[in-house]
Symmetry: D2
Subunit: 278 residues, 4 copies
């Protein structure tokens, strides 16, 4: 339903990633190739960490990304070493700022592509499972924000993979109790500004697309002529719903039911993701 | 925090009420005199019944009413015999369409000026009291919409005064349980398109202002020169947070802790409003 | 670049035309089939005549039509016997309300699909040709509004076909003077609330698509089972960039370089359109 | 009609100036004290220079500044050594992004408080005086943007005070020719990212308010306890329509008909401003 992109690496102007590639995320807002919807025009958001500010800045708006001038201005004048960008195709919930990704809680950001099946029917049950203190901070009406607050309830800040697994488990159990066969479909990115986790999972085993970029040193050897690759560090990484650009060897699919983390010194291991039992 | 206006009577272009009077509601969006806030620029809404359509139309937007051209166009080209208009001054909740009044459920509309004290703290408890089937239709994050859905839960469609009294009772009990001395402050209008109820109440006995217009036949006798009065029926009525215009004898204060109904054949009786015990 | 629709006939709720057909205009905002752009998400507008009000009401907004709730509310609660609707795909000019169609001047409305080639370059020359009194009322920055004000300058209110021909002639001469081979590409609808004119023309002879509906009495004989056809008068007409629905025999292409008028007693004659010499 | 603020000095988070002072610019959007209008809710803009990017970034929106979350996010996460901020109270021209200040041309920014009297009447004459090449880049419909483009036409990039004087002279002559007694009323700020010029002038000699801050070293001696003063350089300066905060000795009125420049090594000289004869 949506497309997203997460960047971690050498600080750069956001426009280098969001606007400049041939099939950039902004271009995907108008013409997505891999998405369920080819148009992702129901709002967008970008979240970035600035030097010496703990919490990320988040700019979200309800207009299409492709024509939003403020997004273009921000992207052309702000540098960051860790940022998220998301373009939305609503499946019915209101097009409003509080429903745009990324969502933020303290220094944490979360964004999502996918859906909780029949969310409207099980929303109340899920809401009851959110920590009452955290519940107060839910502002919008999407399944994505609810998933974030469930993960926070289940310990996201201490153990992201475990918390996401517990959230997924609860969603599946709740859905099954309401007679939904395949309750969850998700690709999720979450960060605290230093590390970046990504998840791909669906109850049906037919998840939305997700890709990660090849290590820059490997890419640089393959494409010594690409100037951009000489400007960013070896461990600069992108995780995307749909690859921008068309550089051979640059993109690798995240397998079904798996997760990984981008952090200093991490290798490319992708681990199996399994929703947690109660 | 807000200003509102409810009209019932001879079908007229909305602009006759919303724009033309000297101190009109639209003027009040920029320069309110009686409100807690002098500016009500955090969005607006208008709801109206059209001939042969059961449910009211509702146009809401997040920009200030004073500069909204679409509101002006609508008001200049739509006639109605029953309409609501509301201008908002947010006290912190997001400025978004789903937080603008009036709220609608089927053929019912609801709007509110006031606040539930410390709503943020007791929101979850109130949400749990909403009928699970109705809960699904809550779209925004305001206390006003929550009050509407509580009233719907408590039988608004069968017994409006009783349902509002039960809602108010629940809010007060919940607030008291959280240590809030004066939990509720409200002026509310609610309609099904045929009858119009208005309520003025606050836990502290110091409610926001509320006025109702004098019967048109009385006014016409007082002011035979006012053309507008000859164009509307005797039982045409306005209920307002703050009187527009400056016609002597036109406005009467709704007393503290009272409610009334506007309907064919009704007189001017105002009854005492008391929140219902559990 | 855009899609539009003009309705003249029995007063109906706008939603019957804008939302209900299978491939409705609102659906075309997300998935156009015949347009240069498949997405028309850069704003929209609807203009309608109300009983006993001379000038049409015009509601325009910069968000995509497909997700705009106010448009849906208006369409579900307003009836009109003559209305325009337009969805926009900007080719670079700002996405703002004053650039959305239809444009209005007094009781006249105008909307357009197409472009003046290299408009940016010849905009100043065209602006100088606008009547200085009229110039004051230009609010936006589109070629479409400029074409409207040139046509008004050249007598639109007295002789629509002549004024449009003079406008087209001026645009072509001005373009040629600036070295543009094919300066004009247009389908235009214009109305005074009683009659409706439509034009299809391009300098290159390769105009954007335009269709008009078959007379209702003919259609009714072909499709006696279609309820809607029994609810509207014989001379109810639609002119559209792209046919909604899929009723066989319902749509006829407007030929290249032609114009026609919809008015009581008019037949289906389409006349040749030729830009006027200086 | 508007309020603005220009900052030049030590790079700081914008929020330190825009949000934190007691009577900040954002607060003035809701409650201005010195303005003609107490509410400046018809849009806003902020423009800032980022390291290693020649042209300033400009974020503008049509909603009130006081409730705009994106502005707050930007201000809390972007540092700059030179930035402009503007809050708008429209006097009739459309509330749209292209009418919000600051205006930008290459590396130059311009913002304005005031009005050209009867601008609507003389707009066309002024437009004709704009360099045809520059004319193409006018996007909005305000007098303020027209003044900017006239100043650019008259050599702003080489000689700002001279160009502004020639612009003012043209506006006054054009106004007088149309029978306007006092054609111009302005406070203007303009910058190329390194130097900052400010102007205060009105034909009537009764200009809108304008203030500049006292040198930081002087202020620091007066108020050694104010932490903020120890964090910024001696030559950090603010020029404002209306002083934020309430620090005694911090603010100095810019005299009628005068101008000044903020640049490294500049002293506090304010020179007389006189519109240039033809």
């Amino acid at each position: 339903m949506c497309r997203w992109l997460a960047y971690s690496g050498t600080p750069i102007l956001l426009e280098n990633i969001l606007y400049k590639p041939a099939h950039s995320l902004i271009d995907q807002s108008l013409h997505s190739k891999l998405g369920v919807e080819t148009t992702n025009g129901d709002g967008f958001g970008v979240g970035w960490y600035a030097p010496d500010v703990d919490n990320p800045g988040v700019m979200r708006d309800t207009t299409p990304a492709w024509s939003n001038r403020n997004l273009q201005e921000l992207a052309g004048h702000v540098r960051s070493s860790m940022f998220f960008a998301h373009i939305r195709a609503s499946t019915g919930t209101a097009v409003q700022q509080t429903n745009c990704h990324p969502f933020r809680h303290g220094r944490w950001m979360w964004m999502h592509n996918g859906a909780i099946t029949d969310f409207h029917e099980i929303r109340r049950d899920l809401a009851l499972a959110v920590d009452p203190e955290l519940f107060l901070d839910i502002e919008g009406s999407t399944d994505s924000e609810m998933m974030f607050f469930l993960a926070l309830t289940f310990g996201l800040e201490e153990d992201p993979p475990g918390a996401v697994a517990r959230m997924a488990g609860l969603v599946e159990r709740t859905g099954h109790r309401h007679g939904v066969e395949f309750p969850l479909q998700m690709t999720v990115a979450v960060t605290d500004g230093r590390r970046l986790w990504a998840f791909r999972y669906s109850s049906q085993g037919a998840s939305r697309s997700l890709y990660y970029s090849t290590r820059v040193d490997t890419l640089r050897a393959l494409h010594p002529e690409v100037a951009f690759l000489s400007e960013v560090s070896d461990d600069t990484r992108l995780i995307v719903s749909e690859p921008p650009g068309d550089l051979p060897g640059a993109w690798n699919e995240v397998p079904e039911s798996s997760w990984g983390v981008v952090q200093p010194g991490a290798n490319d291991d992708l681990l199996t993701f399994t929703p947690a039992a109660a």
